[in-house]
Symmetry: C2
Subunit: 327 residues, 2 copies
């Protein structure tokens, strides 16, 4: 009987269908008994017996694969592949699939909510009011500021779409491959990342974690931003250097930030000392509908693999290329 | 030299133009020296010498007017008129103007931000993360819920418009006079308030405080809402009974609330004990652009009055009628 290890948590909480899919296909499964994001060692100790991992964002490294003698497939619940050593998987003949579209609407909507909260200092007033302090804080409307979007793919495009209802903000965009089709719909300027750092009032990141984007935003970039700029990271931890962000905000730079993703999760670092930094627990994809869709799609893919059906969410070659070139 | 008392604070913070308008017209002015919302008594003691009040939301009652022997005009910075005894003003020949359009975009945008934050429990996770606690909370997307809008005027309509970019949520609306033109643009159902209480996942209030709306939502209405409903009040304090809201939420009913307006401001009440209730300090109109526009419009109107020019923002007869009929 084939066995699947489900590492991502929560899983199957809002809809039991993923479990039923596995049961109906005669696949045995274990849900992560530690009920938290696994470390490399924890996963290595757990993985020996399994044919498939239905995976979260935990590190699936050579060390893990070396302990997983039966592993034939990794089915990522979500979009990022920074956690999976794709080349090591390919060498070992381990298939890798993912669900890149499912989380996008939820991440984009969370991002818009964070933008609107940050612009009006809702989080600061809320925190002050809960401490019995009344202070009417000025804010800005979206149409009054310059938005900078770095990464205009599945999620970045959806963020753009959701700004439409708020007037016509000035939007600066940056991506490896500018998508000029969007220019017909939006008042966009395709610019360098450096220009976004300098000119944007809100900077939002929607790009994968790779060797090129790791620590992309450090002290130098943060200090180059406007004094009252706002930065949002709902993409991946590590793209903004956390220590630098802490130091820079502690010193009074930036009017706000919202960080949903961290170098090490669960996060317990110093950013919690910064009141004007909104912190959320990697909840970008956590709308019930998107989460269910991600879990079902990733489970269906695991079932397809184990029942010899053609895969639908196989990771495209360019994702391997990114890791091959150390990009 | 005519004298204007500016009671609303902050005032002239982001743009000095209102002061310049007064100075250029030869009008002496005093900005509220207590730098907070005045009580009836505080205003009564302060008002004796002034021809005009450029007013916030403080109570301008018979008692105040009886002490204001020179008062000839009240120019409200904002929209609500619940704070002004319009009939007493009319009896005394005191003109009343307001700026009903200026705050609407800012209030609508804050409301959308509050909806998105509440749906994803951003405020709860933020508070937990700042206490060193990591918990991934499920949320819902706007398109997945039923929105109930009570009051579909200047602000309610703008809230509707801003939901457009988030898919096509089911929207229930209620107003004294249904605006059926909106049905062409939105998937709306015009229903009773009771139906909204029963069926909506998010209920947002956009109506004035009158004798009819005071305490409109009490324990009975709150308990009639879904257990995981969300309620937002960016309209006026007192429409929701604060004590009842506290009791009902303390007992575990409602999944969230956002309250920007209070019976008595500055607010220091028990809702601060409820973590899942977002509290903000009457900041609906506090975007820099809208606030400046409100201050300039209200000041221009005061200048018009004192220089004998026709008024542009005079309060329409139906507002007097509301108070006359005790509505």
């Amino acid at each position: 009987m084939p066995k699947a290890l489900i590492t991502t948590v929560p899983f199957g909480d809002k809809n039991r269908l993923p479990f039923e899919l596995l049961e109906n296909a005669g696949i045995e499964y274990l849900v992560n008994p530690l009920n938290k994001k696994l470390t490399e060692n924890e996963l290595a100790e757990m993985v020996a017996d399994f044919d498939v991992i239905i995976a979260g964002t935990e590190q699936i490294t050579v060390k893990v694969m070396d302990r997983a003698s039966k592993l034939k497939m990794i089915s990522r619940v979500g979009i990022g592949l920074d956690s999976v050593d794709l080349l090591a998987a390919k060498e070992r003949g381990i298939s890798v699939s993912y669900t890149p579209d499912a989380p996008a609407p939820a991440v984009a909507e969370l991002t818009l909510g964070l933008m609107l909260s940050l612009l009006r200092s809702v989080h600061v007033s809320n925190s002050e009011m809960h401490d019995g302090r009344w202070r009417r804080l000025f804010g800005r409307r979206l149409a009054e500021v310059t938005i900078g979007i770095i990464g205009v793919g599945r999620i970045g495009t959806r963020v753009l779409n959701r700004t439409k209802a708020f007037g016509t903000p000035q939007i600066l965009v940056n991506d490896v491959m500018p998508n000029l089709k969007l220019d017909r719909e939006f008042k966009l300027e395709w610019v360098s990342k450096e220009t976004i750092y300098q000119r944007a009032d809100i900077i939002s990141l929607h790009l994968p974690l790779t060797h090129l984007t790791k620590n992309m935003i450090r002290k130098e970039q943060l200090l180059g931003m406007k004094e009252d700029a706002i930065i949002i990271n709902t993409a991946r931890g590590g793209i903004i250097n956390e220590q630098d962000l802490y130091n820079v905000m502690l010193a009074g730079h930036l009017s706000g930030a919202a960080i949903d993703v961290f170098d090490f999760e669960p996060y317990t670092g110093q950013l919690s000392e910064i009141q004007r930094c909104i912190l959320t627990a990697h909840m970008g994809s956590m709308s019930v509908d998107c989460r269910i869709r991600m879990e079902i799609e990733a489970t269906e893919e695991a079932v397809r693999f184990l029942t010899g059906t053609a895969l639908e969410g196989g990771v495209p070659e360019n994702e391997f290329e990114v890791q091959r070139q150390g990009l």
